[in-house]
Subunit: 356 residues, 2 copies
């Protein structure tokens, strides 16, 4: 299996899609990527488990990191790949076509092409993005080889309709446990109903108007939602416990601590919060000089990224990052995911314009 990085982008994407690489099973695709990149003298190639790093070392003033993950969510009868349409309407279908082998194809082709880029580039192709944080390849090399991720600006090839989606929102999950007093429901007045006690909380959530916040010129839409509720043990018992789990998605102008304080002291004041998990957001970083050149090369106004992505990992290391890749993000993980060929081309050309 030798990947042709200089031929047709659609053929390259289909070959990548057909190399099944559900999280944990990235060896074959990582081998193929490593072998293909090692054929280019302008790249120094290294490997860490199933993560492949390739970089130029031209002594440029600036270094850019461009990363994409090789793994996919489980296959759902959507392999091998197929296409529909022709020309400008050609779509490539199959598991991973959208999330995010389209981005990987673009990055591989650009890595081969950009032998003398105007900025040094570190290309990262990594494993285990779709599963628990502890397995994430990017998180692993942030510990084992932090220099592989250093740079003044990073691009993550997640699907963004071939536009620039800046930064990402933070996410916080908290649990509120309402308590009461159990009793037989035939003598309900001897108890205190914990499910009824959730009424003021849900009423507050129902009335809550999520904020829209402009950060570095991009507008973020927050959200605060109950994502789980559970209470009651039997059809004849007044429940003494009701647990509500909330998810707060917050704009990247706030730290995790500020997000917790906002819920605790403001929106949900009066309820006792227990933080279940949290991940900081990432500012879009479009005020960086490299970013301005990138935006000009892409030629479209950037928009805010709402979902949490690995750009936050770069942000946490002090590297501003954006999402930029072919494919509609709402098709990520969908069984009918696909990637438009036209977006493969436009993303590839934008990267080459920016870095040539």
């Amino acid at each position: 299996m030798v990947l042709d990085l200089e031929g047709d982008l659609v053929a390259l994407l289909r070959t990548l899609v057909d190399l099944e690489s559900v999280s944990g099973n990235e060896k074959a695709i990582a081998d193929a990527v490593e072998e293909a990149l090692r054929r280019y003298d302008h790249l120094e190639v290294e490997r860490d488990a199933d993560l492949v790093m390739a970089r130029t070392n031209l002594g440029r003033d600036e270094r850019i990191v461009i990363a994409g993950h090789l793994d996919t969510v489980p296959v759902a009868g959507n392999l091998p790949s197929w296409t529909t349409g022709e020309g400008d309407d050609l779509l490539i279908w199959g598991r991973g076509s959208c999330d995010m082998k389209g981005g990987v194809a673009v990055q591989l082709a650009a890595a081969a092409r950009l032998a003398e880029p105007n900025r040094d580039i570190t290309w990262i192709f990594y494993d285990n993005e779709e599963i628990a944080e502890e397995f994430n390849g990017l998180a692993r090399v942030a510990r084992s080889h932090p220099d592989w991720l250093s740079g003044s600006f990073a691009v993550l090839g997640e699907p963004s309709n071939a536009g620039i989606e800046g930064g990402c929102q933070g996410t916080l999950r908290v649990r509120i446990t309402l308590t009461g007093r159990a009793a037989h429901s035939a003598r309900a007045w001897m108890g205190d109903n914990a499910i009824h006690a959730a009424a003021p909380l849900l009423t507050r959530l129902l009335a809550y108007e999520p904020r829209q916040i402009v950060v570095d010129g991009l507008t973020y839409r927050e959200g605060l939602n109950a994502v789980k509720i559970e209470g009651g043990i039997a059809g004849n018992v007044i429940p003494d416990r009701c647990v509500v789990e909330l998810n707060y998605r917050f704009a990247p102008d706030k730290s995790v601590e500020q997000a917790v304080a906002y819920l605790r002291d403001d929106v949900l004041a009066g309820f006792e919060l227990e933080v279940v998990d949290a991940a900081a957001g990432a500012r879009p970083g479009l005020d960086q000089p490299a970013a301005a050149a990138f935006v000009a090369a892409v030629g479209a106004a950037p928009s805010a990224k709402f979902g949490w992505t690995d750009v936050a990992r770069f942000a946490a290391m002090g590297v501003p990052a954006v999402n930029f890749g072919p494919g509609n993000p709402s098709k990520a993980h969908a069984d009918d995911e696909f990637c438009p060929a036209a977006e493969l081309t436009s993303c590839y050309e934008a990267l080459v314009r920016w870095l040539s």
Copy 2:
């Protein structure tokens, strides 16, 4: 194993308690009860599975039914029986002592003693009261031998602190399913949160003032409670479904149909109800002549029974019924259930006074 029905009531109760009879395992205790009753010529004894029926046939104008169940909930390290205290403070402990072998002991002793009662009596000792309705011994003979349960008044020996608890409340369980539209929680505005949609329902339940209703001179306290709530499938998904289960305990002036209509058209108007299960209540029937004599013999003002019991089965057959037995109903099913010896005696003496 021969039960001595004419000796010490405490000894009789302890023998019954020590005959383990968790629902489905009543054969040994039913055998002992049948054998003991067959020794009395004034009783006609019949058996149906593990239900024992014994009745006088004196041609009296009136027939009374007195019933008690032989089974218990599962043993929880509380067998064999033991006692604490002495004299008026003697307590008999162990599984079934309260619910309801105390009542069974009283009824067996009275059945032996009342050779020429002033009213004909049908004594019923039955199986499978503590488990699903379909197994209930009383329900079974209501179909196979309806004449065994016919009479103008019935007494059920369920624990009632040796006082008369009249009738029972009905119970109705309904389910309300709130729906919404699923979305990723990072783009919450594309969804519609079904858990938040429960806010108006829970607010209505929280504000609901349960009614107190006088029926045949007894005051019943109703209750309307959420007994279960469930919604949400993942920490990053706006839930499109939230299910709330409610239990309505209603006074016996209402039929099941009236109870459903009251929720549907009044308290919970605007929500779509699905009836999960329902059991009618029973009026106390204390306006019957036999009841007045019974109340006089017991010598204490009757009170309303809140929990659902098999008195409702008699009521459904047109036989007014009350609960009357030793033991505190709040100790039924408790691991530390017990029966006060003084209540055994007072219940026995009241039955004998009434029917001699």
